[in-house]
Amino acid sequence: MSDVDAKESAPVPEDDETGFTRRTALKALGATLGAAAFARAMAPLRSWSADLSMDEFLQQHYHEMGEEELEKVLRRLEKETLEDYGAEVEIEDLRPQEGVQFGYALNLSVCNGCRKCAEACNKENNHDRKTNNSYIRVFEMEQGSLDFEKGTASYDHTVPAPGKYYMPVQCLQCDNPPCVDVCPVEATWKEEDGVVVIDYNWCIGCRYCEAACPYHARRFNWHKPEIPTSEVNPVQAYLSNRIRPAGVVEKCHFCLHRTRKGEAPACQEACPTGARVFGNLLDPDSDIRWVLENKRVYVLKEDLGTRPRFFYFFD
């Protein structure tokens, strides 16, 4: 479809600068086709999502939606969750707080590799139960090595094992995020508080971002997540833990549905060793600032110039 010049065949708003053109064009085309033709045109995509509705297809980019439109979308998504999962949920649109820049640090001397953070992430973020998906991967590392690519994430024995240390890796919310740069439809961007987010309804599932991330922090949602009704976390936000459709990319968002309300992220709360430090980088009295000023911190693959917001330190 990408080689069709939609601008000539359908009324398309002039928004080249925004970069939304291709998707807008597709949508505008759909609007003029009528439902039957629309359904036929969409047939290939149906294998991804049997229930992609007209409404959903016509939905605007997050930044383009007015308050009213967004409100409608949120209620529609809540209804869909009720239909698909039998769960009453509340999906909010939470914006960054003024004067807040999030930062995260992890004490590698203390982490014991218990994976409680990954487990909490699975539950908090409504991940598929079958694959035990999580935005956090914990690597078992050889002492002396700092290259997590050499670590193993599938260890399954008592921890900590002698001679090993453990490095949980999740999205580092880079200030210079390569994943954002490669997105052809601007479905992912960096917010004011530093969180890199995804509009899951705008993502076309091309997976460029997944390949561009040097930290393997992005996941492709292969299947519609399976979650028992009673386990669906009903506290949700549009840009964070609402249940994502199949065929889109997802990743850690620093639990923005919690953190933008002043709460700790789920992985920090779940950590039984107290290895995680989270907070506002702009607040000189915050824990995270103390760590940055008093511990020798380092970031993963610093030489790539990605400027992560997630720091590691040893005591």
Binding site: E98, C114, N132, E263
Partner: protein, 210 residues
């Protein structure tokens, strides 16, 4: 518009409206009756700052029995039940390997500290600091801090011991663990555990079990 500017404008508008209404009232009803006007700002004006909540384990500094209370915590016996006024051993045991009765099955692996480095000798219901000051078991973090000052400093700044609740103290309290929530005083090494199950995904492959 900034929050402050907006607030100032609203207040200004309210004041102007108030003056106007007052003038109107005076002209209709004659002079205003005397009220007591509370000039102090409403209490909600200053943002509330929540203090940290520290969760100490239940029954600290008691001899836990098999009996449980309604919360499922073990019911403890006060040290003074037996130690009416200090030592009981004859001669008193100074360290774990000198114990010959009662506390004999106690595990101890905390440097080569003597019992009296931490327990007050004349009052078993209290701990004691290096300078002899007696403290309650709930305050035992002060005791730990004496010998582990750098860890304690990290703890004070959230870099050791973790937290739950709120990172933003104007939204809600930060909840912290006590040193003894994670470290048993006599054998403080953090125990080994079995990890939660690993994810069943592979980097760039469709999970095969689907």
């Amino acid at each position: 518009m900034s929050q402050n500017l907006r607030r100032t404008l609203i207040v200004a508008a309210a004041v102007i409206a108030g003056v106007f209404v007052a003038a109107l009232m005076t002209s209709i009803f004659g002079p205003e009756p005397e009220f007591e006007i509370d000039e102090s700002p409403p209490e909600s004006a200053a943002p509330q700052i929540y203090d940290d909540i520290i969760h100490a384990p239940a029954g600290l500094g008691t001899l836990r029995t098999e009996l449980r209370d309604i919360h499922g915590d073990p019911i403890g016996v006060a040290c003074s039940t037996c130690h009416l006024s200090g030592n009981l051993g004859d001669p008193p045991a100074k360290s774990a390997d000198e114990l010959s009765e009662f506390h004999v099955d106690m595990d101890f692996d905390h440097g080569d500290l003597a019992c009296s480095s931490c327990h007050a000798e004349d009052n078993r219901n209290q701990l004691k600091l290096a300078d002899g000051t007696q403290i309650d078991y709930e305050d035992s973090m002060e005791l730990c801090a004496q010998c582990h000052s750098s860890t304690y400093r990290s703890y004070k700044h959230g870099a050791h011991g973790g937290m739950a609740g709120h990172w933003d103290d104007s939204a809600g309290p930060r909840e912290r663990n006590h040193c003894l929530s994670c470290h048993y005083a006599h054998e403080p090494a953090f125990p080994d555990v079995m990890p939660a199950p690993p994810p069943r995904d592979r980097y760039f492959e469709v999970p095969t079990d689907q």
